[in-house]
Amino acid sequence: MSVLGIQNLRACIGHDKEILKGLCLDLPQGEVHAIMGPNGSGKSTLAKAIAGHDDYEVTDGSVLMDDTSILGMEPDEIARMGLFLAFQYPMELPGVSIANFIRAALQARLGEGERIDASNYYKDLYEKMDELGIDRQFTSRSVNEGFSGGEKKRCEILQMAMLQPRYCILDETDSGLDIDALRIVAQGVNAMRGSDRGILVITHYQRLLEYIVPDRVHVMWDGRIVRSGDKALAVELEEKGYDWVKAELVA
C-alpha cells in the first residue's frame, strides 16, 4: 500500500528525554495532512526522527514507507527512497551553489555511469524557479546564504519540486513568511499535490491551511496525535485555542 505509516513511535533526544510518546499516523499518497500543535508538542522532532537525524533515538514503534521500514536508515537513503523534509530553519551552505546542490541530489538518484543532462537540467530548474518567482541569478548563489526568510522557504519548495519525492514533510514552512511569500509557497506546494504524493504540513497556525487545504487535520499534544478530523478541526482549533484540547484531554 502506498502509505507513509507511523505506528506507536517513541523517540528520545539524548538518552532519557522522551519527546514522541507512541505517535500513530498514516499518510497515504494522494492526500495532504496537517499536524497542528503548540510549541514543544514534538512536531519538529517527528519530522527529524522520520528523516533519520541521529540526534533522535527511536526507542519503539515503526515507520514504514510503502511497507519498507526506514528506521535505522541513513538520512540520504531515506531521501532517495522518496522522502523530502522541508526545514523550518534551512541551513546555509557557504560556497555550495543552488545549481550544484540540486544537481548533486539528482545525480545521487541515478545509477552508476549515468550522468545528468545539463541542458535539460537547467531548463527544468529555470522553469520551476520562474514558477516560484525565484530570480534565475539565484542558481549561482550559495544555498540559503544571506537569503531572507521567504527566499529560504521558496528555495526549499524549489528543491522539493526538482526532486519529486513521494512523501513530503513541511516543517513550519509558514514561519517567517509575509502574506505574499506565503501565497507563492502555498501555490508551489499545491502544484505538487497529486495521486502519487503524500504531503504532511506541520504548522502552528491555521492561516497556512487556508492556502494549502488539507484532507485531514491532526492535533499533536505531548508527543502524540490526540485528535484527528477534517479541515474544520483546524478552524475549530483556531477559534478555541490549544487550551481547549488540553481541557478535553484532562477531562
Binding site: 538520512p75 540520504d76 531521501a79 551552505l93 560556497g95 548533486a104 541530489a105 545521487a108 526532486l163
Partner: protein, 454 residues
C-alpha cells in the same frame, strides 16, 4: 622505508649527494657564465654551508618539520632532455589552454619558450625562460638576483637555490602596458631524485598590468624529488600584478615555495596559491609595502590528505602610509594531514592608516588531521586598522544532515562542503582558471585522496 624516510635518514647522516665537490663540478660546467654570476653562486654556496640546519626549536620552524623537507639524495639534472618525454609534457601542460603564451620547463631545462603575439612583442613584453634572459641580457637580471633577500626561516634553502639556480621565468612588463590575457608557466620534474631550483622574476613597470599562472608538477607518482622555487614580484607604481601558483607535485617530493612581493606606490599585487601536492611543503610569503598606498592580497588554499605536511609562513611588512595587506589562508585537511600557519603583521611607526588583515581558516576533516595556527601582530603606529583571526573547525553536522536529507551520500556531501569552503577564493580567480582549480581539488579529494593515504 618510504622515499620520505630514506631521504630524511640520508639527510640526517649527511649522506646528501649535494656537497662541496658536486657544487664545484656544477660551477666548472658553467665556467662561461659572467663572473658576477659565478661569484654569486660561490657566495651563496658558502652561505649555505655556513648556515646551520633549521631545527624545530627555531621560532620560524615551530610546529614545522625541517627534516621532512630535506634534499635527500636529489641532484640537479645536468643531462640531455629526452625529446619524447619533452613532447609528452608539452602536451600535458594543459591547465590553461586559453593562455596567451606559455613557457614549459622540465628539470630546469626550457623545453618550450613562449610565442608572443605580434602585439605583445611590439609593446615590449618580455616573457622568457630565465636561462635565455641570462644569456641575452644578464645585466638586466643581475640586480634582481643580487637584491637583498629576506627569509622567514629558509635562509639555508634560499642560499642553496641561489648557488644552483639555472632557470625559471623572467617576466618584464614595460610601463603603461596592460596584458589582458593570462600568461602561464609549467615547472615539471621528471626522473628519480631530481632537484629543481626554479626562479621566477616578475618586474612590472609603472601603470602596467599582468597575470601569470605557474604550475609545479611531476611527471610520475613514484620518484623522489626536491623542489626549491624562489619567486619575486616587483610591482612598479600603480602596477597591477596577479600571480597564481599551483603546486601539485607527487607525494615523494619535498617542496619549497619562497616568495616575496614588493609593492611600489599605489600598486596592487594579488597572489593566489593552491597547494596540494608533495609529501611536505613549505611556503614562505613576504608582503613588502615600502611605499604609500600599496595593496597586497594573499589568498592561499591548501588541500591536504594522507600524511602530508604543509608549513606556511607569511609576513606583512608595512613601512609606509595608507597601505593595505590582506592574507587569507584556507586549509582543508583529510586523513592525518597537518598544516601550520604562522603569520606576522608588522606595522612601522610611520605606516599610519594601515589596513592589515590576516585570517587562517582550517577545515579539519580527517579524525587524525591537525592544524596549528600562530597569528601575530607587531604594531608601532597608532592610527591603523588591523585584525587577525584563526579558526579551526570540523564539518558542521547540521549542514551534513541537510545535504543528506536531499539524498546526497555522506562522502559527496563532504566534498561539496569542502569545495564550498574554498569557493570564496576560487570565485575571485579568472573564470577559466577557477574552473580548472575546482576540478583539481575535486580530483584530489576523489581519487587522489586514496593515493595520498599511506
Amino acid at each position: 622505508m618510504s622515499a620520505l624516510e630514506v631521504a630524511s635518514s640520508r639527510f640526517e647522516k649527511g649522506e646528501g649527494l649535494i656537497n662541496e665537490e658536486s657544487f664545484l663540478t656544477f660551477l666548472r660546467q658553467r665556467a662561461n657564465e659572467p663572473g658576477w654570476l659565478q661569484n654569486y653562486r660561490e657566495r651563496n654556496w658558502r652561505r649555505f654551508v655556513d648556515t646551520p640546519e633549521a631545527s624545530r626549536r627555531d621560532e620560524n620552524w615551530r610546529f614545522g618539520d625541517p627534516k621532512r623537507l630535506g634534499i635527500g639524495k636529489c641532484m640537479p639534472f645536468q643531462g640531455a632532455v629526452d625529446e619524447s618525454v619533452a613532447s609528452e609534457l608539452r602536451q600535458n601542460s594543459n591547465l590553461l589552454p586559453a593562455a596567451a603564451a606559455r613557457i614549459v620547463l622540465l628539470n630546469d631545462h626550457c623545453i618550450e619558450e613562449a610565442e608572443l603575439s605580434e602585439d605583445m612583442r611590439k609593446q615590449g613584453l618580455v616573457f622568457e625562460s630565465l636561462e635565455s634572459a641570462l644569456l641575452k641580457h644578464p645585466e638586466e637580471i643581475r640586480p634582481h638576483l643580487e637584491a637583498e633577500e629576506s627569509d622567514l626561516g629558509s635562509a639555508k634553502q634560499i642560499a642553496l637555490h641561489n648557488a644552483h639556480l639555472r632557470n625559471g621565468i623572467y617576466l618584464r612588463i614595460p610601463a603603461g602596458v596592460i596584458i589582458e590575457q593570462t600568461l602561464v608557466a609549467y615547472h615539471w620534474i621528471e626522473g628519480a631524485d631530481r632537484a629543481i631550483f626554479p626562479r621566477t622574476i616578475i618586474d612590472a613597470g609603472e601603470n602596467s598590468a599582468v597575470t601569470l599562472v605557474e604550475a609545479y608538477l611531476s611527471r610520475d607518482d613514484e620518484h623522489a624529488a626536491f623542489n626549491c622555487a624562489v619567486g619575486s614580484v616587483k610591482a612598479g607604481p600603480q602596477a597591477n600584478v596577479c600571480r597564481i601558483s599551483v603546486q601539485n607535485q607527487n607525494l615523494n617530493t619535498a617542496s619549497f615555495l619562497l616568495d616575496s612581493n614588493n609593492c611600489s606606490r599605489a600598486a596592487k599585487i594579488n597572489s593566489v596559491t593552491l597547494l596540494m601536492g608533495s609529501h611536505s611543503c613549505r611556503h614562505e610569503s613576504f608582503l613588502n609595502l615600502p611605499e604609500p598606498d600599496g595593496e597586497i592580497r594573499l589568498r592561499s588554499m591548501i588541500a591536504a590528505s594522507g600524511d602530508q605536511l604543509f608549513d606556511q609562513r607569511s609576513r606583512q611588512d608595512h613601512q609606509a602610509e595608507r597601505c593595505t595587506s590582506d592574507v587569507l589562508c584556507k586549509n582543508a585537511l583529510h586523513d592525518k594531514a597537518r598544516s601550520v600557519f604562522a603569520g606576522l603583521i608588522r606595522v612601522d611607526e610611520k605606516a599610519q592608516q594601515t589596513d592589515a588583515y590576516q585570517t587562517n581558516r582550517n577545515l579539519v576533516i580527517g579524525s587524525a588531521a591537525e592544524a596549528d595556527s600562530m597569528p601575530g601582530l607587531e604594531i608601532l603606529a597608532n592610527d591603523v586598522k588591523c585584525s587577525h583571526g584563526a579558526t579551526t573547525g570540523r564539518i558542521d553536522e547540521e549542514q551534513l544532515f541537510y545535504l543528506k536529507s536531499r539524498g546526497i551520500p555522506t562522502e559527496t556531501a563532504r566534498q561539496l562542503l569542502t569545495l564550498g569552503f574554498f569557493e570564496e577564493i576560487l570565485e575571485e580567480s579568472p573564470d577559466d582558471l577557477s574552473e580548472t582549480l575546482r576540478s583539481l581539488i575535486r580530483e584530489k579529494f576523489e581519487s587522489g585522496r586514496a593515493k595520498g593515504r599511506s
